[in-house]
Symmetry: C2
Subunit: 246 residues, 2 copies
DNA sequence: TGGCCGACTGGAACACCGTTCCAGACCCGA
DNA sequence: TCGGGTCTGGAACGGTGTTCCAGTCGGCCA
């Protein structure tokens, strides 16, 4: 199922054709297209990524791009996978399991902070390629932490869903205040709005408004990860709970 | 900031004009427009909600709709707020705090299950109106659970981010398999895909594929909520940990 | 009662999007 | 040299959100 026309066709043709080198030095390729797409997304935001803008940057036409890429969804998936793959190989190797989970989560947080569009894409269509990477990265560390097999799926899903939730929120925030303006002013505006809410219906939110304005996103993210990790460790069998290793 | 032109104008005009009743029985209003939008979203999915389809269903033109609604974002926010408000008033009253949190979370899960587009909207632009409702609903129960004030923000955020993460994933799943096909076949296909991954690079994911195929989304969601709740309770001060009340 | 004016309507028009189509350029093996 | 597959670039298509505006309706004032 779900076969993208162009890449499928290309595969068949490659198999029956000749293995050739580059046609020209500046030949179009999926790699170059994805790189250009990431550059546009980072510099001008999600809304700026159109096939016309992409074609202009690559000095070609939109038709040429469609020869290498099935559609915009595949392009976004490839760009996202590119970023996630880098996170998973760079972060979380060698250290103690609990630290490794935190390192991977932080790596994703930082990547989404730099590329907010990744957050949006992850909470829109992550099943294509990025999800197995994330599950493997986090789940294998939980395994090393001593989580029993019956709990693997629920524990990993909980962490992944939390990370994806934060990812989506960061992307939404980045969309509301453009790439230029800073986050502090934006959060201040939201906090002000919260303080003006009806005191009878929103007593809790009003008391929280101050925290919202001056909190550190990164630290709060880590606090959530730690909350879930202690929840996971509380259910650990006795022999694994002490050392962290099985 | 963020003032929507039409509603702003309308307010000004109302203030200086006369308080009048309905012009006709079938007069257009924001309420009727939002209702029609929800009907379209539920029946035919997010992609089917266009101003043209909306105008056709309401037997009017798109311009008339823009008199009552600033733009599509405001329309989606209003529709989402409608659903979330119902969840927050219906669920989680009267019971013990921990149960109340679970009830509210489950209420949101079920609402998103019925209206997948709510999940998409929540992980796209929730700050407009829905977020305070969710924060108040969950946060006030944590307060009742005995969570100290310094931990309110982190604990509530953790739960909310988790819920929003699941919301986004459910919406993404619903988008991949149309309103017609069922979820079991869809998950089976993903699981098959996971089992075919490279054994060297994805050993954990491959062992998880079976679980993915036959798990219950709702139960898994609750398991994640419980994980976070035990994490939160583990940090509770001694006197609150026993009874659940302060 | 007649006219006025603002609230409201409905549909045409605009700019732009993702995608498709296609005529040609290019380069390889025969 | 030639033929055909690989690859290109730009025009064209259908559809979107949004704007624009001529016109309708109904309560108010002279």
């Amino acid at each position: 199922m779900l076969e993208h026309r162009s890449s499928h066709v290309k595969l068949v043709r490659m198999a029956s054709g000749t293995q050739r080198g580059e046609r020209r030095a500046d030949a179009l390729s999926k790699r170059r297209i994805v790189e250009a797409a990431i550059a546009i997304l980072d510099a001008e935001g999600e809304r700026a990524l159109t096939f016309r803008a992409l074609a202009a940057r690559l000095a070609t036409g939109s038709g040429a791009i469609y020869w290498h890429v099935a559609n915009k969804d595949e392009l976004l998936a490839a760009a996202t996978d590119d970023v996630i793959a880098r996170v998973m190989t760079d972060a979380g190797d060698g250290t103690e399991p609990r630290e490794a989970v935190r390192a991977i989560a932080l790596g994703m947080f930082d990547a989404i902070d730099v590329h907010p569009w990744v957050g949006a894409q992850l909470s829109r269509a992550p099943w294509l390629t990025a999800m197995p990477r994330i599950f493997e990265g986090i789940g294998s560390r939980l395994q090393a932490l001593g989580v029993p097999e019956e709990a693997w799926f629920d524990s990993t899903s909980a962490l992944v869903n939390y990370v994806l939730g934060v990812a989506g929120q960061n992307a939404a925030n980045a969309r509301l205040h453009g790439p230029g303006t800073d986050r502090a002013a934006f959060l201040g505006a939201i906090a002000e709005q919260w303080e003006r809410l009806d005191a009878a219906r929103y007593p809790f939110v009003r008391r929280l408004a101050g925290r919202l304005a001056d909190h550190d996103d990164r630290e709060q993210f880590l606090a959530g990860i730690d909350l879930i990790l202690t929840g996971i460790e509380a259910a650990l069998p006795d022999r694994a709970r002490q050392g962290g290793h099985v």
